[in-house]
């Protein structure tokens, strides 16, 4: 009985994951702003990842140490996005600048 309490029904988790995947497939065709769809998809993906980590990987029943280890890469990857953003904007500016003369003189090619 204690065992049953410790590990919730794996089939229930399976159905949650399957349903969330179907919702993801529906979301991309919804008539919403691209940004809203992106936020929704990120939230759904994080929800699915959390279900897998918490129940399939038993993180919910583990010591807190393992939880901290598991959350670290997520923090690092999120920070990495902000580290890459300035680089990205610089590249974008360069490409836009290089496109401007081409637009001004379309007959060149």
């Amino acid at each position: 009985m204690a065992e049953a309490h410790k590990h919730p029904s794996y089939m229930a988790i399976f159905w949650y994951l399957a349903i969330l995947t179907v919702i993801e497939l529906i979301v991309i065709y919804l008539p919403l702003a691209k940004f809203t769809i992106g936020v929704l998809l990120c939230a759904l993906a994080l929800g699915k990842a959390a279900l897998v980590a918490m129940y399939f990987m038993h993180l919910r029943f583990e010591t807190r140490t393992l939880g901290w280890i598991a959350i670290t890469p997520l923090v690092i990857a999120t920070l990495l996005v902000f580290v890459l953003l300035p680089d990205g904007f610089a590249v974008l500016k360069t490409t836009e600048d290089s496109r401007k003369p081409a637009a001004a003189a379309p007959a060149k090619h």
Partner: protein, 208 residues
């Protein structure tokens, strides 16, 4: 000193020094640290993908060129194989090694079918002109990042299948189910991680 006394000596030496941070299984802690490192690798690939995409003017709309149906099926397959993995561990916990081996085999089979479908998808896309340095629908880097990220993940699945097959041998060689429980749980952590990464890859590279 026999091996058993060395073992107990080591234990009595370790136990007084235990803190709340000491894990129940050092192997599990080791696997989690490895997975965290691996996750940073995947995180870097996906963040790089995002940066390249955000700064590209002609990035194609992935779900319009990549064919979502097959990939959705692959996602479903990987989720199923995660379920068979937890079932294998559950049977092992109940002392049924035969059932555990059966479910480990199903898990490995799921992984094999996943990689096969990926090979089919790749050959199909390569046939349509998407190469690692060529993309008929816009930015070349789309092809580069697509093959790099899905290939890196496919390599993990392939490694996982080999890992699972070796775990079948491991369980088969140990008459007592309890003797292999910890090792199978650790291999399960790796397998679920591969599933978790695919959830991310599927969302960021196919749907977004």
């Amino acid at each position: 000193m026999t091996a058993a006394t060395v073992h107990s000596a080591v234990h009595s030496a370790v136990e007084p020094a235990e803190t709340p941070l000491t894990p129940q299984s050092w192997g599990k802690l080791g696997m989690w640290i490895f997975l965290a490192g691996d996750a940073v690798g995947f995180g870097t690939l996906l963040a790089g993908y995002g940066a390249m995409r955000a700064t590209s003017g002609d990035w194609p709309n992935p779900y319009q060129v990549l064919g979502i149906n097959l990939t959705a099926l692959m996602t479903f397959l990987l989720i199923c194989s995660s379920v068979t993995m937890v079932k294998a561990l559950e049977w092992l916990g109940r002392g049924d090694r035969t059932r555990a081996i059966q479910f480990l085999f199903f898990t490995a089979l799921g992984g094999t079918i996943f990689v096969s479908l990926q090979a089919y998808e790749w050959s199909h896309l390569i046939h349509r002109g998407l190469h690692i340095n060529q993309n008929p629908w816009g930015a070349t880097l789309f092809g580069t990042s697509f093959f790099l990220v899905t290939g890196f993940h496919g390599l993990h699945v392939t490694g996982g299948v080999i890992y699972l097959l070796s775990m079948i041998r491991y369980v088969a060689n140990r008459p007592q189910a309890a003797a292999s429980y910890n090792a199978v749980e650790i291999s399960g952590l790796y397998w679920h991680f591969v599933d978790l990464v695919w959830i991310m890859v599927f969302t960021f590279m196919y749907l977004l």
